[in-house]
C-alpha cells in the first residue's frame, strides 16, 4: 500500500485533471456537509417552536386558574 | 362492464360538448406551439423537416397535459366524484370511462389536426400518415397516465404546474416512441416496431393506469 503520489502538488494537480476531480469532490463534500447542517437547523427550529407552543399553552392554563 | 364504461364516457362527452371553448383552446394551444418553432429556429425546410416529429409530438403532449386538470376538477367541485367513488361499480372502470372521454375530446382532435400542422413542416405524405397513426395510438396512453397525476393533485393549490411536474417524466417513453415512429419513417427505416411498443404503452395507460388513478382518487377524497 504505497502512496501513489510523489509530492503534494502532484496530488493537487491530479495529472492535469485537477479541476474536474476537485470540482467533483468539492461539490460532493459541500452537499454532504450542507445537508446535515440544514437538517440539524430544521430540527432545532422545530424543537424551539414546539417548546414555545407548549409554554404558551401552560401559560394560558395558569392564567385561567387564577381567574 | 363495457356498458358502464360507456355510460361514464357518454356522460363526460355530453358535459364536454357544453364547454366547447375548453376543447378549442387546447387545439389552438397546439397550433400556436407548433407555429412558434419555425419562428424560433428559422425557415430552412431541411431543418424543419428534421425537427417536425419532435416538435409536433411535444406540442401534442403539452396540449394534452394542459387539459388534464379538467378531467376530474368539475366532478370534484360539484360532488359527483364522491358519488362515483361510493358507487357499487368498480372505480377503476369509471376512470377508464373518463379516460376514454378525455381522449375523445383531446387526443383524437389533436391527432386529426397534426397532419395539417405537419404540412407547415414540409413532411411527406407517408410521414404525415405515420404522425397521425402514432398520435392516435399514443395519446390514449397520455390520457391514461395523466389521469394519475390529475387525481393525485385534485384540489391542491398550484395543481396545474404540479401535474406537469409529476406527469411529464412519465410521458417520456410515449414521446420517444411516438416521435421515433415518425422519425423512422422520414429516414426510411419503417415504423412498425415503434408503433407496436406505442400500442403496448397505450394498453398499459388505458387499462392499468386507471387502477392507480382510482387509488389516488380515494386518497384525495378522504
Amino acid at each position: 500500500m504505497n502512496i501513489h503520489w510523489s509530492s503534494f502538488s502532484d496530488f493537487l494537480a491530479m495529472g492535469g485533471y485537477g479541476l474536474y476531480v476537485w470540482g467533483s469532490f468539492g461539490v460532493t463534500a459541500l452537499v454532504l456537509i450542507a445537508e446535515p447542517i440544514v437538517a440539524v437547523r430544521n430540527r432545532k427550529a422545530l424543537i424551539a417552536r414546539l417548546k414555545r407552543q407548549a409554554r404558551a399553552e401552560r401559560g394560558n392554563n395558569g392564567s385561567n386558574k387564577e381567574q | 362492464m363495457i356498458g358502464s364504461v360507456g355510460a361514464v364516457a357518454a356522460r363526460d362527452l355530453k358535459l364536454a360538448m357544453r364547454r366547447q371553448a375548453d376543447l378549442v383552446s387546447v387545439l389552438f394551444f397546439f397550433i400556436i406551439v407548433a407555429s412558434l418553432f419555425p419562428l424560433g429556429v428559422g425557415p430552412e425546410p431541411q431543418l424543419l423537416k428534421k425537427l417536425a416529429p419532435g416538435v409536433l409530438w411535444v406540442g401534442a403532449l403539452l396540449a394534452t397535459m394542459l387539459s388534464l386538470p379538467r378531467l376530474f376538477a368539475d366532478d370534484y367541485r360539484d360532488g359527483t366524484l364522491e358519488q362515483l367513488v361510493l358507487a357499487p361499480q368498480p372505480l377503476g372502470l369509471t376512470v377508464i370511462g373518463k379516460v376514454v372521454a378525455h381522449w375523445l375530446v383531446s387526443g383524437l382532435p389533436l391527432a386529426l389536426l397534426a397532419p395539417v400542422l405537419g404540412l407547415q413542416f414540409d413532411l411527406e405524405t407517408d410521414a404525415l400518415l405515420i404522425l397521425t397513426v402514432s398520435l392516435l395510438i399514443g395519446t390514449p396512453a397520455l390520457s391514461g397516465i395523466g389521469a394519475v397525476g390529475a387525481a393525485l393533485t385534485l384540489g391542491l393549490r398550484g395543481g396545474g404546474v404540479l401535474v406537469s411536474l409529476l406527469v411529464l417524466p412519465l410521458y417520456i417513453p410515449v414521446l420517444i416512441f411516438g416521435a421515433g415512429a415518425v422519425d423512422a419513417t422520414v429516414t426510411g427505416m419503417g415504423a412498425e416496431a415503434h408503433l407496436s411498443i406505442l400500442g403496448a404503452l397505450a394498453i398499459g395507460g388505458v387499462f392499468f393506469a386507471p387502477w392507480a388513478t382510482a387509488a389516488a382518487l380515494r386518497i384525495s377524497l378522504e
Partner: protein, 251 residues
C-alpha cells in the same frame, strides 16, 4: 419464552422508533465516516493511475456510489410506500418523506460528477447517453415526489399520494430506462461508448466499494435524523412528544 421474541412491529410506531433511531444514528454516521476515510485513502492516495483515463478516473469514487444510492434510495422509498399503503403504518410515510431529499441530492451529485467526468473524457459536459438521461429523469421523479408532498397540507394524504406516485414511478423506471436506451442507440453515432467498462484494478474496486458503503451509511444516518424531526412535528400534541421535548430541555 414467547415474550422473549422481539416484536418487530413494536418499532413500527413512531413512539418507540424515535429513541431507537436516535441510538442508531451515531453508529451509522461513525460507520459512514470510517468507510469514507478508508475509501478516500485507497481511492485518492494509494490506487494507481488508470492507463486509459489518467488520474481523471478518480471521479468514479464518488460518481458511482452517488448513482447507486440515487437508484437504491428510490427503491427503498417505493418499498416504504408499498408498506404504508398495505399496512397503513404511520412510520412508512415518514421514512419515504425523509429519504426523498437525500435521494434527490444523490441524483444531483451523480449528474454533476458525471458532467465533470465527461468534459475531459469526451470533451463535452453533457451527452445524451442513456444512463445520464435516465439519471436526469430520476431526478425529475424525485422532484415531483417532493413537490407533491409539499403541496398537500394533510400529512396522511401527503403520505398516501406520495406512495402512489412512488409506486407508479418505480413501475415506470424500467420502461423509461429501456426507451431511453432504445432512443439513444438510434440517434447516437459511434463517438461515445460508455458501456465498455475498463478492467478495474482490485484496489480501485475496493476504493469504490468502500465509498459506496460510506454513502450508504451516510444516507441511512441522515434519513433517520430527518425522520426523527418529521416524527416530532407530526406527533406534536401527543404525550410522548411532550415528554421528549421536556427531556431535550433538561440536557
Amino acid at each position: 419464552m414467547n415474550n422473549r421474541l422481539i416484536n418487530w412491529f413494536k418499532y413500527a410506531s413512531p413512539q418507540s422508533f424515535y429513541p431507537l433511531a436516535g441510538k442508531m444514528i451515531p453508529w451509522f454516521a461513525a460507520a459512514g465516516a470510517v468507510f469514507g476515510i478508508a475509501g478516500l485513502w485507497i481511492g485518492m492516495a494509494v490506487a494507481p493511475t488508470d492507463f486509459q483515463q489518467g488520474e481523471g478516473y478518480r471521479i468514479i469514487f464518488i460518481h458511482v456510489p452517488a448513482s447507486w444510492m440515487s437508484m437504491f434510495i428510490y427503491l427503498v422509498m417505493a418499498f416504504w410506500a408499498a408498506l404504508g399503503l398495505a399496512y397503513n403504518t404511520r412510520l412508512s410515510g415518514m421514512m419515504a418523506q425523509a429519504l426523498a431529499p437525500t435521494g434527490a441530492l444523490m441524483a444531483f451529485l451523480s449528474l454533476w460528477t458525471g458532467a465533470l467526468w465527461g468534459k475531459p473524457m469526451w470533451g463535452t459536459w453533457w451527452v445524451w447517453d442513456a444512463r445520464l438521461t435516465s439519471e436526469l429523469i430520476l431526478l425529475f421523479l424525485y422532484i415531483g415526489f417532493i413537490a407533491l408532498q409539499a403541496a398537500i397540507d394533510d400529512p396522511r394524504r401527503a403520505d398516501k399520494a406520495g406512495a402512489v406516485l412512488a409506486l407508479v414511478g418505480v413501475v415506470n423506471i424500467p420502461i423509461i430506462y429501456f426507451s431511453v436506451k432504445w432512443w439513444n442507440t438510434l440517434h447516437q453515432g459511434a463517438s461515445v461508448s460508455l458501456n465498455r467498462a475498463p478492467a478495474m484494478a482490485s484496489l480501485m474496486l475496493w476504493g469504490m466499494l468502500l465509498m459506496a458503503l460510506a454513502f450508504w451509511m451516510y444516507s441511512i444516518a441522515i434519513a433517520l435524523y430527518r425522520a426523527r424531526t418529521i416524527m416530532l412535528e407530526r406527533e406534536r400534541g401527543t404525550e410522548w412528544v411532550k415528554e421528549t421535548l421536556a427531556a431535550e430541555g433538561a440536557k
